[in-house]
């Protein structure tokens, strides 16, 4: 027997690298994630830039926007110092940053369901389970690649968003987006929501035979984000740093529960006998 060594990390990274190579050759898995980037960016620029151009009047002409933007300065300190169209633009762009959270959710969902169901369809799990790879390592490996892919996509979407704002809006508006609120959304809540979406996708995929049916179930996670976004647009409340921190904490708890369920699902015997 060839002398074998190899750490847990080596085994996880072996599968993660393999998954990355497979995903790169699977447009069906990547396209929904990339489409979501466009889907998260378009509404903001349409509302803030496109609609006023089509209507032929500036945002300031809407008294309601002006009023809400001024009221929001207390909860989003980054808006202070802006006025007129710039203030309204920054306020609206801030509202739309919430849509960026859909990128990690949809990205994670699309990639993870294809990754797990792909293994099932090709019957590749049994030989994999006959290696020294532990089931916890397999679970970690199956979440690592989609996590990195979807998070990178989220940050690319955020960079495009900020870059777009810099291009089309009043001077200083883009800078107003670089604050604690955006940081919490993209670097704390975003990854936690993504991890929850990933774990849920992996769990659901273990019982599904088709990526699309698995995605339909896991897309339930989109609902709360959309609901908060709509409520915010309607002026019900503003998602400030406190709400984001509370949301992050809730997501942390959800992740702990999903991890427990995931570990139960990722048992060798369960995978062999019940994953059909």
């Amino acid at each position: 027997m060839t002398a074998v060594t190899g750490s847990s990390w080596q085994r996880i990274s072996a599968i993660a690298r393999k998954d990355a190579a497979e995903l790169a050759r699977n447009p069906g898995a990547i396209l929904p994630a990339v489409a979501m980037v466009a889907g998260s960016l378009f509404p903001a620029f349409f509302v803030v830039v496109g609609a006023p151009m089509i209507a032929g009047r500036g945002l300031e002409a809407s008294g309601q926007f002006s009023e809400e933007a001024r009221a929001a300065v207390g909860q989003i300190p980054e808006l202070a110092g802006l006025s007129g169209d710039g203030l309204i633009q920054a306020f609206l762009f801030h509202q739309f940053t919430l849509l960026l959270l859909l990128v990690p959710v949809v990205g994670a969902m699309a990639l993870a369901t294809h990754s797990v169901i792909g293994e099932k369809q090709s019957k590749a799990l049994e030989p994999l389970l006959a290696t020294p790879l532990s089931t916890i390592e397999l679970l970690a490996a199956k979440t690592l690649t989609p996590f990195v892919f979807a998070l990178a996509l989220t940050w690319i979407a955020a960079a495009l968003f900020i870059g777009g704002v810099w291009l089309v809006s009043e001077p200083g508006v883009w800078r107003a987006l670089l604050g604690v609120r955006t940081f919490l959304m993209l670097c704390v809540l975003g990854p936690l929501v993504e991890l929850a979406a990933l774990q849920l996708s992996v769990i659901v995929s273990s019982r599904a035979n088709d990526p699309r049916s698995a995605q339909q179930l896991t897309s339930l996670l989109i609902l709360p984000i959309t609901a908060v976004f709509v409520a915010q647009l309607m002026g019900a409340f503003i998602v400030g740093p406190t709400v984001l921190l509370l949301g992050s904490f809730g997501c942390l708890l959800l992740n702990a529960v999903l991890l427990w369920v995931g570990v139960q699902v990722f048992q060798r015997e369960t995978i062999l006998m019940r994953w059909k």
Partner: protein, 309 residues
């Protein structure tokens, strides 16, 4: 565990596995030594795959013990035991979007092999797939996919190799190639357990054959297995009508049938033939020819599994 088992690379000792109330494998004991090929024969649903999975550390037995390369397998040691096992699953289970090379490289990394690229090259060389290293696994023919799956099972050079239906569905040339590979494993002093439905293949490859139908029905060398089942048959050509000597043959053997000048007698084993011939001669028979006719492995197998509910 008996003395024959001790020292074997693969030991199954009184293995039982149930799924809810269904018994898949019952009280199975067998061992495989270095440089030995043992074949598991049995009908569909006989518990062959469950046995393979237990031995590979994928399923824990409900009761009984497994030792792989001197390691007692338990939930705590199963990860370590798996390092000593190469498993070929019933379906090749390849990553079809990846190249042949990347399929193997991932397994080399999973096993933590030093210089994984070199190990991949050696494994490809073993199964004569070096010239297809850059091809996508999904583009390979069924026979080549099976060779790749075997290379994957052997990449870490395990002392124990488990092959679940390695030639199932392959054309004769591909099946021949796989059988040659399996014979090479014996030369390399690996302990090889093969599951198959192909009786001719079992007879050709095996040092011993285990007939399984939930429980172990028989375990022996192919020739011994053929001879052991309710005796062997011998054809004796005599001068004149053979029916005259039937009564004498029946008292000696288990059964006798006469047709023309031929007497066909079932004896406990072939060592009884000289005594039978002597008995017939002593009663006046003039014997022209004696031809032993052992039963085929297929007859033995069908009788064994057919007798089981």
């Amino acid at each position: 565990m008996n003395s024959v088992m001790r020292g074997a690379l693969l030991i199954a000792d009184r293995l039982t596995r149930t799924f809810d109330s269904r018994v898949a494998v019952s009280d199975l004991s067998l061992s495989v030594n270095a440089g030995e090929i043992v074949t598991l024969l049995g009908p569909n649903g006989a518990g062959k795959t469950t046995t393979m999975r237990m031995l590979a550390g994928l399923l824990l037995p409900t009761s009984g013990r497994i030792a792989i390369n001197q390691i007692q397998v338990s939930s705590a040691t199963a990860d370590g035991a798996r390092r000593a096992i190469g498993l070929l699953t019933e379906a090749p289970g390849l990553w079809e979007r990846l190249t042949v090379r990347l399929n193997l490289l991932t397994y080399a990394r999973l096993h933590g092999l030093p210089d994984p690229e070199r190990q991949v090259a050696a494994a490809l060389d073993l199964v004569e797939l070096s010239d297809r290293a850059g091809d996508l696994a999904g583009k390979l023919s069924k026979g080549l996919k099976q060779r790749l799956a075997i290379a994957r099972a052997l990449i870490h050079r395990p002392p124990v190799v488990l092959l679940d239906e390695p030639t199932s569905g392959l054309d004769p040339a591909s099946a021949r190639h796989i059988r040659d590979l399996i014979l090479k494993l014996r030369e390399d002093q690996r302990a090889v357990l093969v599951s198959t439905h192909n009786l001719a293949e079992a007879e050709e490859l095996s040092d011993r054959i285990a007939v399984l139908k939930t429980r172990l029905l028989a375990l022996d060398a192919p020739a011994a297995l053929r001879a052991s089942m309710a005796g062997a048959k011998v054809h004796i050509d005599v001068e004149g009508d053979a029916a005259r000597w039937s009564a004498a043959a029946i008292t000696f053997g288990g059964a006798a049938a006469a047709a023309g000048s031929r007497l066909s007698v079932t004896v406990p084993d072939l060592s009884a033939v000289p005594d039978l011939v002597a008995a017939l001669v002593s009663t006046g028979a003039r014997i022209v020819r004696v031809a032993p006719d052992q039963r085929t492995l297929e007859e033995v197998y069908l009788e064994l599994v057919g007798a089981e509910p």
